[in-house]
């Protein structure tokens, strides 16, 4: 393997790696491409340039929680979706509400979820979210029974195109906090 000299060549290596990865690549992953001969700051700069290079093409280079990935620009998604018409799986309201509680109130126990939703949590709901790798157990609350504490994962952020939880719609949008509780 020869040394990469020009910026163009380095960007091409990055591009090829990101295009074939199929999953986000972290900065650490990308550094491996250059066998230690790359500075993080340079890498970031190259990624920025690569992003610009693709601006008027069909893919976006985006940064999500686990790293960088290429994905189809939004305007093509409805066309591409036609290739897999059966794959539209929809979660039930119960699943989505449970996910919302875990996302906004994490880490939470099943008891916390039940308290907020006012109904018992069906173990199936937790299982579905765990199988999707959107939530996992991050510890136990030190109370009798040591219930598991659930939190959302990096995959959850990746799948929703987010870099961090801070990028979720702010919870205040959903509350009526501005309405005073008494006159």
């Amino acid at each position: 393997m020869r040394d990469l000299n020009s910026i163009g060549e380095m960007k091409q290596v990055l591009e090829a790696a990101l295009l074939t990865a199929g999953a986000p690549l972290s900065l650490d992953d990308l550094l491996k491409l250059f066998a230690g001969k790359m500075e993080r700051t340079t890498l970031r700069m190259l990624l920025d340039e690569l992003k610009q290079d693709w601006a008027d093409k069909t893919l976006d280079l985006v940064q999500v929680a686990s790293g960088y990935r290429f994905q189809a620009k939004a305007e093509y998604s409805e066309y591409i979706a036609r290739l897999n018409p059966d794959r539209q799986l929809k979660y039930s309201r119960a699943v989505m509400e449970t996910l919302a509680i875990i996302a906004y109130r994490q880490p939470v126990t099943r008891g916390d979820i039940e308290q907020i939703r006012g109904v018992a949590v069906n173990p199936n709901i937790i299982r579905q979210l765990q199988e999707r790798e959107w939530i996992d157990v991050v510890g136990q609350r030190e109370v009798p029974g040591r219930p598991s504490l659930y939190a959302t994962t990096k995959f959850f952020l990746d799948d929703l195109n987010l870099r961090s939880l801070a990028e979720l719609p702010p919870f205040e949008e959903f509350t009526q906090a501005e309405i005073p509780l008494s006159e």
Binding site: A103, R117, P169, F171
Partner: protein
């Protein structure tokens, strides 16, 4: 099951018909009631439907309406979760506490409804958050991640089996054989050739046989094992079988040498 409306009372008045805004074809009622995610969801629905002020809930009205729905659920034998009944009890408790004479200084915390209101509002916020999350584009649906094809060229060559490996395996066979050893005197008529064809026949049907499996015999006397081992060596020498091992110390496998010799 059909719903009879004359059992339903609202504010003490027997209902002659279901209210217009509540009219649901009887067949759909079960499905409809099942759409509530629980007592809080049902309460929120009632509050919004009847334009009640969530911050100043008329408890008597809400309780009656709530109980009406719970009754309907009972009638159609919808499995009534304990959560719904618990909420009934809570509503009634709040209602009765509000009938008690009020202390002179009324603070927010003294309002028996405060906790219920807090929970309703929190649940409503979560409901909205869930809807928002649901509408967000996700990978696998609205987001397509690029994954251009890349052929990972990684030819894994099975490691060569050294003589030492084979010897080690052989020792193990001997060790195991010692456990059920019999001493037999006399001349055993053992033919290496016979064992060779025995092994070949077995490889023909089983394709791949673990080295150790070849020595699992009922009458595994030492001489027989030795002959068997010699037969394997002979077969290997003549290029009739292939001996492979995926990694050091992993099981050794024998298979027919796929060639014209078949």
């Amino acid at each position: 099951m059909l719903l009879t409306t004359n059992e339903i009372k609202i504010n003490g008045e027997t209902l002659s018909a279901l209210p217009q805004d509540l009219y649901i074809p009887p067949d759909a009622l079960e499905v409809y009631l099942e759409t509530f995610e629980g007592p809080l969801d049902l309460l929120l629905y009632l509050i919004r439907k009847h334009n009640l002020d969530i911050l100043d809930i008329p408890m008597a009205q809400l309780t009656v309406q709530y109980m009406g729905y719970v009754e309907k659920m009972k009638i159609i034998k919808l499995e009534l979760a304990a959560d719904y009944l618990l909420m009934s009890a809570m509503l009634i408790e709040i209602k009765s506490r509000m009938l008690l004479p009020k202390p002179t200084e009324v603070t927010e915390e003294d309002d028996p409804r405060a906790e219920l209101v807090r929970r309703l509002m929190e649940y409503e916020a979560i409901k909205l958050a869930a809807q928002r999350l649901d509408a967000m584009p996700t990978v696998g649906a609205e987001i397509q991640v690029a994954s251009a094809y890349y052929e990972h060229i990684s030819q894994v060559k099975p490691p060569e089996v050294s003589l030492d490996d084979l010897l080690e395996a052989w020792k193990n066979v001997l060790k195991r054989a010692k456990l059920n050893q019999h001493h037999k005197l006399g001349r055993a008529e053992l033919s290496v050739r016979e064992h060779m064809s025995q092994i070949l026949r077995r490889l023909n049907t089983e394709k791949m046989v673990a080295f150790s499996a070849l020595f699992e015999m009922d009458d595994a006397a030492l001489p027989k094992l030795v002959v068997h081992f010699l037969a394997i060596l002979e077969l290997a020498k003549e290029g009739l079988i292939r001996i492979t091992q995926q990694a050091a110390f992993s099981p050794i496998y024998l298979q027919l040498h796929s060639g014209p010799a078949e």
